[in-house]
Structure formats: structure tokens, C-alpha cells
């Protein structure tokens, strides 16, 4: 750990986490912190517990042991007050196929903390879905549906983005474009925790914290 990292407290801290699935220890005694502008990148083989760790970070799954602290407070005690700071993009997009992209985003915004000034049309434009706002989500391609899921991150002012394989089914240009979006979020003082099989093409200014779950 660098000197800079020790003297300012991280916004989100994990202390000696352990996760057990089907009697198999996926990881134990895992500690790290995420600060504004930092991205945590999880690496590891299939089945090494990357998704489980992200779900633990969201608070959906309980860790076997260990603590999770948001600004020094336990996230399970904070509950919804913690949830307003995070946005989660899982394996599943979480969009309703029978609704239009615009309707889906409106719900995503309503579920989060009410935030002003974030325009839904602009969010769709940013992920390249301009002109598709009234097409049923069912009729969009897999890549476009993934873009819609990413647009969901933009419509609330969540500080921590938790991303599970965000680039699935995106084309190369799409991946580059989304990397710029994530970079923008980090440069504005946001945080991210993500897994990906792609080599991430962030520019140097972005501070990456890498954790490899298979080599511990």
C-alpha cells in the first residue's frame, strides 16, 4: 500500500471478507478500499468468485465474515441510504423487454435517489441509443440492450458503479465508447468496482486497483 493510500481513508472499505459457496472457500481475509477516482478491477479464473464478490459489495449477498464500510459505517446498517450511492450492472440487464428504453430508464431513475438535471434522452444519446427511445426493448439487439443497461448508470447520481462484465456483447467501438464513459465517471470523483475479460484501455490518470482472486 502506498503512503498516499494510508493517510486518506477510503470511501468504501472491505475488511477481511470471506465467501464460501457450496462448502468451497472462494476467498478469505480479503481487504481493500476504494477512493474517489479509483477503479477496483477484479481478475481471476471462471468460478473464482468475482461475481460473488461484486454481489457482496452491493449488499445483495452476505459475506461469510468480514465488514463492509461506506464512509466508516456498516452498509447493512445503512440499508437504502447506502444503496442511493451505488449503481449495479449485473449479468442480467435488469430491463423489462416489454417496456421501451425510455420507460425503463424512468423506472431506474425513480428507484434511485431523486436527482435533478440528468436528462433521460441525453443518457440514451450518450450510450448511442438515440432514436430508439420508443422501440420496445425486446426488439433491440443484445448489444443495444447492454447499452441500455449502461445508460441506467447515468440517470442517478450514484458514486460507486459496480459492474459485472459490462462489455458483454458490445462491439469493439462500443467498448471503447463505454470505457470513455467510465473514465469520465472516475474523473468526476466517482468510483467503480468491475470484472472484465477485456484488457481495459483506461488512460493513465485513472487509478486502478487490481485484485486477482485466483492468485491469492
Amino acid at each position: 500500500m502506498t503512503a498516499a493510500a494510508t493517510n486518506t481513508a477510503a470511501t468504501y472499505e472491505a475488511e477481511s471478507l470471506a465467501c464460501i459457496r457450496d462448502d468451497r472457500v472462494l476467498f478469505e481475509d480479503l481487504s481493500f478500499g476504494i477512493k474517489p477516482g479509483q477503479a477496483l478491477v477484479l481478475e481471476g479464473r471462471n468460478g473464482s468468485g468475482k461475481t460473488s464478490l461484486l454481489r457482496i459489495l452491493c449488499g445483495i449477498r452476505l459475506p461469510e465474515s468480514g465488514k463492509l464500510l461506506w464512509e466508516g459505517e456498516d452498509i447493512f446498517r445503512l440499508g437504502p441510504e447506502f444503496h442511493e450511492h451505488i449503481a449495479y450492472l449485473g449479468h442480467k440487464d435488469g430491463s423489462k423487454l416489454d417496456l421501451t428504453p425510455l420507460e425503463n430508464l424512468r423506472i431506474a431513475q425513480g428507484l434511485g435517489k431523486a436527482s435533478e438535471g440528468i436528462d433521460l434522452d441525453e443518457a440514451l444519446d450518450q450510450v448511442g441509443l438515440y432514436g430508439f427511445e420508443d422501440v420496445p426493448t425486446r426488439n433491440l439487439s443484445a448489444g443495444q440492450q447492454r447499452r441500455l443497461a449502461i445508460a441506467r448508470l447515468l440517470v442517478t447520481d450514484a458514486k460507486l458503479w459496480i459492474l459485472d462484465e459490462p462489455f458483454t456483447s458490445l462491439d469493439r467501438k462500443g467498448i471503447e465508447h463505454m470505457e470513455r464513459l467510465f473514465e469520465g465517471h472516475l474523473n468526476r470523483g466517482g468510483m467503480a468496482a468491475m470484472t472484465t475479460h477485456h484488457r481495459i484501455g483506461f488512460k493513465d490518470e485513472v487509478q486502478l486497483v487490481r485484485i486477482n482472486l485466483s492468485e491469492r
Binding site: 452491493c58 437504502p80 442511493e84 442480467k92 423489462k96 416489454d98 425513480g110 428507484l111 434511485g112
Partner: protein, 227 residues
Amino acid sequence: MSTLSLTSAFSLLLKRDLVLAYRRRAELVNPMLFFVLVTAMFPLGIGNDAKLIEAVGPGVIWVAALLAALLSLDSMFRSDYDDGSLEQFMLSAHPVSILVLAKILAHWLVTGLPLFIVAPLLAVLLNIPASAIPTLMLTLILGTPVLSLIGSVGVALTVGLRRGGVILSILVLPLYVPVLIFATDAVKTAIVGIPTTAQLSILSAMLVGSLVLAPMATAASLRISLS
């Protein structure tokens, strides 16, 4: 400010579920069709014994309503679980129990309210005297929300299972029995012409009790199902 955004989240979710139900209306008619068919077949099966039909009428309507509710329960959280929307609800900045209440209300409006609307017709078919029909309607408007509320806890517990249908029935049906007993008893008493305040008060108590407790239990069950 925060209560305002909470009510807007509630109405947003309610509207969403109603829109979704409208866009898949073919599935939506199923429980009501079941309710109508079962009750309509009964007089045909019994034959032209008007006294007997009148005697079993309230029971038939309520048993059919119970089974129709059970049939429709699984759809409450299934598609949200499958496409990941449920995870997003759990991570909402609003209390999950309030969001759950919006979903239960939408479910009742779509599956419970239609039963209430067609019930008078079926009551005539089953030879229930006109004087008892208001009581039947009252039991349905008090009782069917209880079915949705209690059912939501069962669905929340079984939504993560591959084949949760059987377990759901075993889990939920015993809890439906008190509603069935008091509702049918109220209608039978009304047919005889005795006041039904006692039964209706108990049904109201069940409604209030489940309205307060079920959303919290459902939220907790969903958390268990997802983790």
C-alpha cells in the same frame, strides 16, 4: 422531499406493473377465466337441485377465487427475478417493503379486482339470493387483497427455486384457510338473514394485519431468495 420521491417511486412502480400487465393481457385473463369456468361448471355437475346449489354456492365461489389467486401468484415476481429487475429493486434507495407493496397492489388490481367484478353474475348462476350478494361482494373486496398479500410472502420465498409451484401451494394454502372459513360463513349467514358484522370484522382485521406485516415479510424473503 424524500417522502415525495418515495410516493413517486411507489406510483411509478405501480404504473409500470399495470403497463406490463396490459402489454401481456393474454396471460392476465387466465386466472379470471379459471374462476368463471370453475364456478360455471359446478351447477352443470350438480344437476337441477336448486337447494343444493344454493347451499354450496358461497363455498364454490370462494374456493374458485382461492385457486385463481394461487394460479396467478407465481407471476408476481417471476419475470422480475428472471430478468434481473428484482436485484435492482433490492438496491433501490427506497425501502423495499414499500416497493413490494406497490407490486402487490398492482397484482391485486390485475387479478383480484376482476374476480370481484364478475362475482355478482356468478352468484346469480349459483342461486345465491340477491339479499346476500352485497355481503359476498364485501367478503371479496376484503378477502382477495389478503390472498395477494399472504401469497406474496410465499412467492418471495420460492421465487429462487426452479420448481417452486408445489411448495408454494403447500406453503400458502393453509394460510388461506381462515379467509375461506370466515368469508363463506359470512355469505351463508347473510343468506339466512342474520347480521354478519362479526365475520366481516375478522376479515377486516386480517386485511389490516396482512397489509402491515406482509410487505415487510416479503421484502425479507426476497432478500433471502436473492442472496
